[in-house]
Symmetry: C2
Subunit: 190 residues, 2 copies
Amino acid sequence: MAAVAGHEDTRTRLLATALRLFTAHGVEGTSLQMIADELGVTKAAVYYHFKTKDEITEAVVEPGLRELESIVGEAERERRPGARIDHMLAGFVDLVVRHRALVALFSSDPGVARALEKHFFGKESCMVGMMTILTGPDPDPARVVAAHAAVAGIALAGGSPDLAHYDDDTLRESLLEVGRKLLGRPRRRG
Amino acid sequence: MAAVAGHEDTRTRLLATALRLFTAHGVEGTSLQMIADELGVTKAAVYYHFKTKDEITEAVVEPGLRELESIVGEAERERRPGARIDHMLAGFVDLVVRHRALVALFSSDPGVARALEKHFFGKESCMVGMMTILTGPDPDPARVVAAHAAVAGIALAGGSPDLAHYDDDTLRESLLEVGRKLLGRPRRRG
DNA sequence: GTCTATATGCAGATAGAC
DNA sequence: GTCTATCTGCATATAGAC
């Protein structure tokens, strides 16, 4: 795979740059020109790697979305509702911590939703699946609101620049605690 | 003031339309053409009421921001830290419920921040003030994370289309409960 | 107060040279 | 794989008629 290293590298740098700019200015507020300038290349060079801006948006969020999908699938296979919630929560928090800004992006940026709805990436089913697990069967309004607040709160707090200086373990434990409190789950050990 | 009723009405409709479109597509994803089309007027008519798009953005978020400012001010005048938190929380939740989509918008849309930073509206100081109250003195990381998650969770859950069908009282109580759990405040009565 | 018409610039996107 | 050059369209914004 060494032969394509150069290509992969530029592509990877491009996606990292795009994510950073998307986070700062939103997807619609980021132009291909901005991405190209930050990379030190021209717009046309960007178009060599991706045919459209939507393709870039998809490529930026795809890895995270796939991971979320697989976590939802795993959680659904747990037998007890409590275990489903715990699995979903731990997986989601871990995803947020490892990707930080990314999850906040696709939780709140309308540009992401717009880009994804064309090629149907299953973002909606992901989110619905996660929410179904977290609310449990026959949820009352308070529980539905709590689950929504948990997902949004964890994603946005995890991606917040104000909290970027915390190390992964600190952030992970704190976000887990947020989820446990909102969803009424006990702490793991004591 | 009957003389300016027509003007006020168009202006008000314009701001309501802008808020709806900003919520759906983000500030940067909304063009003046879209706003004009929804209103059934031309772009030039929109420019009669506002000189720039940034002015529209400011006018959309201004009332909510002013309210938040005053709530922060009130809360700061409470003597006990616990009472400060309770006042801040109740005021913020009430603001979210009464405006729904608006608070979610300026909590998460980078376009809003961009538009406000020119004419300095005090958004930053508002947010910092609120966060200072909610974290209290000498907060540990878990508390800072919890406060961030509370604000983001309440704002985004309150503005979520999935939860739009709940009546104000149900939503308010549920969001208050979210804040109380995350910030370790007891319920009001039992 | 709302219109038509228009200026200007930058967006996304393509063709083809190197 | 990256470039220059260019196209098309829509963005914000303005001037001035009605």
